[in-house]
């Protein structure tokens, strides 16, 4: 039985991973619309949320790392085959 390379399996589920990352970003983003805000949803532009804003990028960053790693692994495997 031919084993499917790891990067191929990652690429097969890549659209789902992208969706998951976008959803997680929105989920974390909902914190800024909710009671995480000192004025219960009213944005006072106090910038109290500013230190937490980079958290929004975490899921997309993780998704990007997985995506690029799979691409790099594929390139390496193709070079080895050549």
């Amino acid at each position: 039985m031919v084993k499917t390379p790891f990067y191929t399996r990652i690429q097969q589920i890549q659209p789902k991973l992208h969706g998951l990352a976008v959803g997680m970003t929105l989920g974390i983003g909902s914190m800024f619309l909710g009671q995480g805000c000192p004025l219960l949803g009213q944005c006072p532009t106090c910038a109290a949320c500013a230190p937490r804003l980079p958290l929004l990028a975490l899921p997309l960053l993780a998704d990007g790392v997985v995506f690029i790693s799979a691409k790099v692994m594929q390139r390496r495997a193709e070079k080895l085959e050549d």
């Binding site: 959803g23 929105l26 619309l33 909710g34 009671q35």
Partner: protein, 285 residues
Amino acid sequence: MYPSMYRRLLPHWAKRFAFFLLGIVLLYAPFALFTKLMLMLSGKQHLGDAHSVCLRMPIQWLAQPWMYGTILSDPTYMVSVVFLPIAALFLGPLFCGWMCPAGGMTEFISRAVPPRFQIDLSGKINPVPVRYGFLVGMMGITFIGGNACCSFCNFTHAQNIINAIFGDFLGIMYLASFSIVSFILWFFVMGLFTKGGRGWCNFLCPAGALMGLTHSLGAKWKISRQIKIDRETCTDCKTCASNCPAWAMSRDKEKPVEINYHGCNTCMDCVKACPVKAIKYGMAD
């Protein structure tokens, strides 16, 4: 202006609309009969409106073991994390498709908008991973002291609209805050101007995600009543997929139509839309 299929689905929608009204009477103020009954039986002191049977906070509390006592002590908090997911495990997410006042409100109003003004995302985007991602993100923010609550919640927006219909405009005043963003997204962008009217449910509803998860497990273990396709009768016309408000049916021309149980909300529009009666709701074969 409207697809001819609407005429065939009209009696079915009328039935669903009756259940949608029942959902409002059971859960939403000024009626909230179910909520008030639960509060009376448990002796708890909450508001008798949509906030008591909250479909968001108890789900967030699943990531906070120290809140389990609160969930277990109050039957109204157990609705979204215990009763509905267990019902979905055996019967499918019937609450989503038939009784949810927030989802039903945008869906039924969106039927009045001609489809040429609506974004059609069914078959183009798989909303299920986004919805699961939102669930994980929403639960995850509790670890950094965050909380996604009423001002983002479509359940609250729908309650505010019902309140305004009955003369209480206090909730509408919240739209002067940042919650107008989530209101516009839920009601207009993902509601009225998205085909099916359930864009918010499909992408962002955490309660729907939880029920979708248990329903897919029920379908996998064959213990759930579910939408099923008779492959011998099916002509693969994809009428079901183009009428699915949950975008849970594949529209790939190369492949036979498949149901994504993670996204299906058991509204049974596909059952009624099928021209050859190849789709049924029942136990797995």
